[in-house]
């Protein structure tokens, strides 16, 4: 269960104040995949960071009784001078997963071959993303957080990663920021709209998409 209780979040940077959330209360419906839609700058990524715990709210509480992933495909936490294997071990240790199982899965899934034994700084962007994606899928999460990135790499790997994510769906839930209505329609059951007139919850995906596409501007 993920529950936000009167959450407020304001950013202050160089004297400019921007209130992203003001007294926002919401309980994510259990067993539903939730889309998060809204124009750029509406606070979608902030919401993801608040949910994941990467950032704390100014006021209010966020209650999570579930195992949450970091944003899918996120590779910023890797250490460039450590090898792929070492980075996998590190992430596995944090989440209490069996390193060897995770390594086996990622080696098979990410198709990085011998590069896994090389430092990450020698990887291309696509290779890093494959590694990150592989690790997220190797560890079983209750919720996968998706911030626009649903597949990585070239066309065939993108298909493979999307399929792997779909295979997770019977057991895991998605909270997904997306600008692709196709993905929202296919993967989500309901959604939040972060619009200029506040935050709205839609029980029905078609109504959500309709409301989103008819936003002014």
């Amino acid at each position: 269960m993920i529950e936000l209780q009167s959450v407020s979040k304001t950013y202050r940077l160089k004297g400019i104040r921007k209130q992203v959330f003001d007294d926002f209360t919401f309980t994510f419906p259990p067993n539903k995949n939730v889309a998060v839609l809204g124009p750029n700058g509406a606070g979608k990524s902030t919401l993801m960071r608040l949910i994941s715990g990467a950032e704390a709210p100014d006021r209010g509480r966020i209650i999570r009784c579930a195992k949450l992933s970091w944003p899918l495909g996120f590779s910023g936490g890797f250490n460039g001078s450590m090898t792929g294997i070492e980075n996998i071990r590190f992430v596995s240790r944090i989440y209490g997963a069996d390193s060897d199982q995770v390594i086996d899965f990622v080696a098979d899934f990410a198709e990085l071959g011998k590069s896994l034994h090389l430092p990450i700084k020698t990887y291309s962007t696509g290779m890093r993303a494959r590694l990150a994606f592989g690790i997220s899928l190797a560890i079983d999460f209750d919720y996968y957080l998706v911030d626009e990135v649903i597949g990585v790499g070239d066309a065939s790997f993108r298909r493979k990663s999307q399929n792997a994510l779909r295979e997770k769906l019977p057991h895991s839930r998605l909270i997904m920021v997306s600008h692709s209505m196709g993905h929202v329609r296919e993967l989500c059951d309901c959604g939040l709209l972060l619009g200029p007139n506040g935050i709205w919850f839609f029980d029905d995906v078609e109504m959500l998409i309709h409301a989103y596409t008819s936003l002014p501007g």
Partner: protein, 265 residues
Amino acid sequence: MQFAIISPDTRALAGLQTRVVAALILRETRATFGTSHIGYLWAIITPVASIALLAAVFSVAGRHPPFGSSLSLFFATGIIVLQLVTRLGNSLMTAIEANRALLSYPPIKRIDVLLARSILIVLTFLLIAAIIYGALIALGLADLPARPEHLLAAYAAASLLGIGIGMINALLLTLWDSWRRIEAIITKPLFFISGVFYVPDYMPPQFIEWLRWNPVLHAIEWTRQGYYANYDSMVLDKAYLLSIATILIFIGLAGERLSRRSDRS
């Protein structure tokens, strides 16, 4: 088992934190010392070189050891403690900045990063101290420590002081980026005012009045009282050292708690 960050189950939380800190220590070890063994070697070489240089200068100048019969042992008792404190102070300052990307993994909190680095540095210097004292004893340049338990207590107090200073530095650095330069300037004179190469009690009284404010000096005095059988420091005030260390850690933790909300990475 719950993997949530906020969970009613304290045992699960303790397990999570232990796991995260352990993983961070392994990662830090790898990042600090690199793949080669040269990295480990350098950790030993730095204090050994400082001790050897100081001993060489004093012998060339024909000076007697300020206390006891061994120049190297006297300087070792000072330099190991001084470098432990300054390394903690400096390394914790940059710990959060160096690991900022890691904070995107929800289970990792800033305090874990600080804790992992502290543990690694304290253990590393414990090993360095054991090697240096061991070598001096083997070479006949030092006796066995007279009161090992005091030596260890002094080491623990110095570690706490260093961690406290490091946490304050980390806090100040998040508020003000120029702090790193100021920290470098402030820590420079510590070598001269901490009693590394003299016995504070033998200084003129008006100096002692000033020197006794420096907590690092008390950590070094405590160390020498533990090592030498008859080093009776008049200056040493253990309560002062421990209070300063505790207050600094407390302010550091409180500051971390307060600045957490305004953090913008």
